[in-house]
């Protein structure tokens, strides 16, 4: 069983389109994240949710809208896609409370978004 799974793994789309990436974790963790990794492998946090509540919202364009229907799911919707949105988007989870190791994130395998 995959601990953190995200779909789709690959996404190719035209500029201006709207797309979504879904993430699910079966680890029972209370916190989930979205990270963006650019072509130089730099990983930057975008959002974090704890028990469905938004707790980190970095300076991300409002075209990006995360949604957490429950603590096991965190989806990312992107409106009006731009060329610069091309990247690998990683979902991650962690256990914020009681027994979680600080700084230990469990990552999915990534969703490679290519905007043409």
């Amino acid at each position: 069983d995959t601990a953190v799974s995200q779909t789709p793994k690959y996404l190719v789309t035209q500029m201006g389109n709207d797309k979504s990436i879904k993430c699910e974790q079966n680890l029972g963790h209370d916190t989930m994240y979205w990270y963006k990794q650019d072509s130089k492998k730099f990983l930057k946090i975008m959002f974090s949710y704890n028990n469905k509540e938004l707790i980190i919202n970095e300076t991300v364009p409002n075209r990006f809208s995360p949604k957490s229907p429950d603590k096991a799911h965190l989806n990312l919707h992107i409106n009006s896609l731009e060329l610069g949105d091309s990247a690998v988007y990683f979902c991650a989870s962690s256990q914020e409370r009681a027994g979680g190791r600080i700084g230990e994130l469990f990552f999915g395998e990534g969703s490679r978004l290519t905007v043409l």
């Binding site: 707790i55 914020e96 190791r101 990552f107 395998e109």
Partner: protein
């Protein structure tokens, strides 16, 4: 702004030799430092962490050293194996409140058979 960065973007090491990957950080408020390994096509994976009140921590074939005076972190891999080939990231976080893990620039480790 505050950042965590690496000195060497690519490191080539002969199989069986020891590897040392370095990292400089600038956020004095960080009290946890972590190393992650990212293999091709996969997400980063936690390797080892060290708290700011320690200067050395050992795991299986890996050792992390922390020098708070010069804000330097290193990961040592003993007897490097082909399976160690990956991109390595240092990262920092803080205890208290909701955690935010900030990653530095990765170093690609290439193991030469």
């Amino acid at each position: 702004g505050e950042s965590v960065g690496l000195h060497l973007p690519t490191l080539s090491v002969q199989e069986g030799d020891n590897s040392i990957i370095n990292c400089a950080y600038s956020n004095s408020a960080s009290d946890y430092f972590i190393w992650y390994k990212q293999e091709s096509g996969k997400g980063p994976q936690f390797i080892i962490d060290i708290r700011s009140n320690m200067d050395k921590r050992q795991g299986q074939r890996v050792t992390v050293l922390l020098n708070k005076t010069v804000k330097h972190l290193s990961l040592q891999i003993a007897a490097t194996q082909p399976g160690d080939s990956a991109v390595y990231f240092c990262a920092e976080s803080r205890s208290g409140g909701y955690q935010k893990v900030t990653f530095g620039i990765g170093t690609k480790l290439q193991v030469i058979p």
